[in-house]
């Protein structure tokens, strides 16, 4: 999603003349499904002084979800969706969703439909939720 920050390396169209380097891609990615894996990754990165980036579905136009030499925590598969019928904050009370970081707009809409409520999402159906 951010070819400029990634360095536009290893584009399949350039195979005849170029070389394939890893460019701005992270060196390793943890495909996380639970909190424990995130904790392991953060501890590993901190204790070894590694660059750490967080990648969700890849919609960061400023390239923050990529990083050369980094360890990447990939949150795309955190898909928990929990419907809370009555949720109260000082400024809001009513139905709410508690969403995993990897839940995409289309999935949220499907869940909202299931519970008969409306959710306001982002630009396109694959966008990660900003919640």
């Amino acid at each position: 999603m951010s070819p400029l920050y990634q360095g536009q390396t290893c584009l399949p169209q350039n195979a005849a003349t170029g070389t394939c380097t890893i460019g701005g891609f992270p060196s390793y990615v943890v495909k996380v499904k639970n909190v424990g894996q995130i904790q392991l990754a953060i501890n590993f990165a901190r204790n070894l002084n590694l660059r750490l980036v967080v990648h969700n579905t890849g919609h960061d136009f400023l390239g923050k979800s990529t990083g050369a030499g980094a360890l990447s925590i990939w949150t795309h598969h955190l898909k928990d969706i929990k419907f809370i019928e009555s949720y109260k904050t000082p400024s809001y009370s009513g139905p709410a969703f508690k969403l995993g970081a990897g839940v995409q707009v289309g999935e949220l809409y499907a869940a909202a439909n299931k519970y008969g409520v409306t959710a306001v999402g982002g630009e396109c159906k694959v966008s990660p939720q900003k919640t």
Binding site: M1, C20, V35, N43
Partner: protein, 188 residues
């Protein structure tokens, strides 16, 4: 158990990092410690059988299981599985060395975290460790990391690598397929 974390971190000299990547498992101890005393939680950690490892361990999915435990009364599956001081202590007691690499930071320091961070920067002024640096974790360290996460670690291979003839991942058919779908958002 912040004091545990502290002790673990203090026991992490720099030299250890360089050599870090040799993991020594004491076969006897490992065998003994497989017994699980946990009653209220499921501990998804175990170290396998016949480890006659003096130099390099046969660290694989059979001998090292994910280092997470299920916390009771948490509904969401993703949140329910966590790395805890207990898990770390368990790993440490099994003498799988360099487990300190996965230890938590010092929670007591939260208050002065900002000050600490700036001091740290002034004192050491060092950059992040990058691939090719002396302290970059070895393949073995990454492998152990992979095992502790339950096989969740992916070593990055650029998606376009299949199109480069001089790349080990060259695959003409996969390349054709990739080029055919390159402009679709699902591809990237």
């Amino acid at each position: 158990m912040p004091s545990l974390s502290k002790a673990l971190l203090l026991a992490l000299p720099l030299a250890n990092l360089v050599a870090a990547q040799t993991i020594v498992v004491d076969g006897e101890e490992v065998g003994k410690s497989r017994r699980c005393d946990w009653q209220h939680r499921t501990v998804l950690f175990s170290l396998g059988k016949q480890n006659k490892l003096t130099q390099y361990p046969a660290a694989d999915a059979d001998t090292v299981a994910p280092a997470v435990e299920q916390i009771a009364n948490i509904e969401e599956e993703a949140t329910a599985f966590q790395l805890t001081d207990d898990v770390l202590a368990n790993l440490t007691s099994l003498e799988l060395s360099n487990i300190t690499l996965f230890a938590f930071g010092d929670e007591d320091a939260t208050e002065s975290a900002v000050t600490k961070r700036s001091n740290y920067k002034r004192t050491f002024d060092r950059c992040k460790t990058f691939p090719g640096d002396l302290l970059w974790p070895s393949k073995l360290a990454w492998k152990v990391f992979d095992l502790l996460t339950g096989g969740a670690l992916i070593e990055t291979i650029p998606i376009g690598a299949v199109c480069y003839e001089n790349n080990p991942h060259y695959d003409a058919a996969a390349c054709t397929e990739l080029l055919a779908h390159w402009t679709e958002s699902a591809t990237q």
